[in-house]
Amino acid sequence: MSRATAKYLELVGELRLARLDHELRREPFTQDEELAYVSELDHWWREMTGEEQDAIERELAGEAPDAPEKLPAEDVDVELGSESGPRREAA
């Protein structure tokens, strides 16, 4: 995950929390307050590649992320009672 992607998701979380906090305190979440988050989100959005933006779109839409092209692990056979894991790092 790129720095821009990580920062974007982090800020989305902070924006949601700030909005919820205002709601709980029954205070309006003003445009200026939201704008502060949006300006920074916009900066990181423009830093992302198209693929990174698409990944964010999927994540925020609640869709499963794409499987990585190179799987970092592969399945291996295990014997009954074995203490080794059923996967090992891919070659």
Binding site: L35, V38, G50, D54, E57
Partner: protein, 174 residues
């Protein structure tokens, strides 16, 4: 293809039939996977999230989410302070507010994170000094209201501000 045609047919029987026959392409909201549609410029609606003034209209200015271009970000004037077509401008989303970036997309739409108001304008209302230009990257969901000819930056900003009354608030369908 046929899903689009079905929707078009529901709205207009002749267009729907022509669509199925491949004579026209049905206008449909863009999705992230569909190619950009190219409706007639006059029919095209452009969407943008704004901060608003005390009359709940888009706030005119050159800062984030205002009706205007951010100098150095949205548009870069030359040494003589001139701007022109093909060099960017104020960002908009064509056709469907669902194409706005998540942080500018209303929470009522899938993936949307914004509670700021969205407005829309018909491209035909931009006037002679402005034009819509689809972006090279993701043209189905991003474009610019850019100068239609070479002009001073101030004239471009004034032309954008002059559209303030033509932007209509968008609300999600019930």
């Amino acid at each position: 293809m046929f899903g689009r045609c079905r929707r078009a047919r529901d709205a207009n029987a002749i267009v729907g039939l022509q669509c199925i026959l491949g004579l026209v392409s049905a206008a449909s909201p863009p999705s992230q996977s569909s190619p950009p549609s190219a409706p007639a410029a006059a029919d095209l609606r452009l969407f943008r999230t704004f901060v608003t003034d005390d009359k709940n209209r888009p706030k005119i200015g050159n800062q984030d989410l205002m009706l205007g271009a951010r100098v150095g970000i949205d548009i870069k004037p030359d040494r003589d302070g001139m701007v022109g077509p093909g060099k960017g401008g104020m960002s908009v989303t064509p056709n469907d507010p669902a194409g706005l970036p998540p942080h500018l997309r209303p929470t009522s739409l899938t993936g949307g994170q914004s509670t700021l108001p969205v407005f829309s304008i018909a491209a035909s209302k931009l006037g002679e000094s402005l034009r819509f230009q689809a972006a090279k990257r993701h043209p189905e969901r991003h474009g610019f209201v850019e100068p239609s000819m070479a002009m001073k930056l101030e004239a471009y900003q004034d032309a954008l501000g002059a559209t303030a009354l033509d932007w209509a608030p968008w609300e999600a369908a019930a």
